[in-house]
């Protein structure tokens, strides 16, 4: 059953400023969330704050990661409402959602466990590298969405 929803009535689509404003908040907040996770990743890779333990850094940054993630997910969902179908039928966006889910689960399970255990060597290097790659790929997919418009509505209603 089609949902009676007219995107042209969405406040984000009826004025000039709200959409870019949401994007700016989205970008600033992913800098906060990914940036704070990256601090722990760099420590796991043995590149930053070598005198501090990964657990210490995780405790110091965890709350800011959570605040950043909450804001970035909220603004992301608001942006999604401006044109749900075109996002849904975009492969880049689909990858982004899956990678985001994996990255969040990874962050609060394996990443957290490895950081808290202060283990060093191969496991911690792998964890830091996987985390950085996962989050970077989410950012890439967010940008590639705008460059993969030809895939819109592939297999969708036309």
């Amino acid at each position: 059953m089609p949902i009676p929803y007219d995107i042209t009535q969405n406040p984000l689509n009826t004025n000039e400023w709200s959409f870019p404003l949401m994007e700016c908040i989205h970008i600033a907040m992913f800098a906060m969330s990914i940036g704070t996770i990256a601090v722990v990743d760099f420590r796991l890779l043995g590149l930053l704050f070598k005198e501090r333990t990964p657990a210490e850094l995780l405790k110091a940054t965890g709350i800011w990661t959570l605040i950043g993630l909450t804001c970035v997910l909220s603004t992301g969902m608001i942006i999604f409402t401006t044109d749900p179908l075109s996002y849904y039928y975009n492969y880049s966006f689909r990858y982004k959602l899956i990678a985001l889910l994996v990255a969040i689960i990874f962050n609060y399970t394996i990443h957290r466990k490895v950081a808290m255990s202060n283990s060093s060597g191969g496991v911690s290097v792998m964890t830091g590298a996987v985390s950085l790659l996962l989050w970077t790929s989410v950012v890439f997919a967010g940008i590639f969405y705008a460059f993969t418009e030809e895939l819109h509505y592939v297999g969708g209603p036309n």
Binding site: L12, E16, A28, G35, K59, A146
Partner: protein, 185 residues
């Protein structure tokens, strides 16, 4: 030679033409630019929040400043290099874009900010690690840094939303009411 001709000559350099016309190079460079904001911009944000005495309080502010400094330099260098590619490839569209110009002015402010607060704050452990938290000067420096960087980021995003009226003779510079704003930029 007018500014328009100079900017055209710059974006038509073979290298910038190749970047612009490659289907993959531009999105990859843009994504990398954004990924650098995520990874290294986060370091700037964290340092500012530490100087404001709200984040990472368990680690001395001087240590946060000193340890993140080389990485911020690396990040800024990569961001600038990527930005030169992005701006150069479309320089004719960019050079009179007000958001681009404000962004460039703000980038100059970043360097001025660093010079102004270098001695009094960033290389001054006394100002950073006093018992009551970072000094007032450190907090001013952090607040200014936050304002400048958030503005740079916002201007960067807004560059895409400015339609040059000169490029569209007879057309209104902004979308007319009733059209859907924001999508597919």
């Amino acid at each position: 030679m007018s500014a328009d001709q100079i900017s055209q000559a710059i974006q038509n350099l073979p290298y910038f033409t190749a970047v612009r016309e490659s289907g993959l190079a531009y999105p990859v460079l843009l994504s990398s630019h954004l990924a650098m904001i995520a990874v290294f911009g986060g370091l700037i944000l964290l340092t500012d929040l530490r100087l404001l005495n709200v984040a990472m309080k368990s680690i001395p502010a001087s240590e946060v400043v000193a340890k993140t400094r080389p990485w911020k330099h690396v990040g800024l260098t990569i961001m600038l290099l990527l930005g030169i590619h992005l701006g150069g490839a479309k320089f004719q569209d960019y050079y009179d874009n007000p958001y681009f110009l404000v962004k460039m002015a703000l980038l100059v402010c970043v360097f001025i900010h660093a010079i102004v607060f270098r001695k009094s704050v960033y290389k001054n452990p006394k100002a950073l690690d006093s018992p009551g938290g970072p000094s007032a000067a450190a907090k001013v420096a952090a607040t200014l840094s936050l304002v400048i960087w958030v503005s740079i980021l916002s201007c960067g995003r807004m560059i895409a939303y400015w339609d040059n009226p000169n490029n569209q003779p007879g057309k209104a510079p902004l979308l007319t009411p009733g059209q859907v704003y924001g999508r597919h930029r």
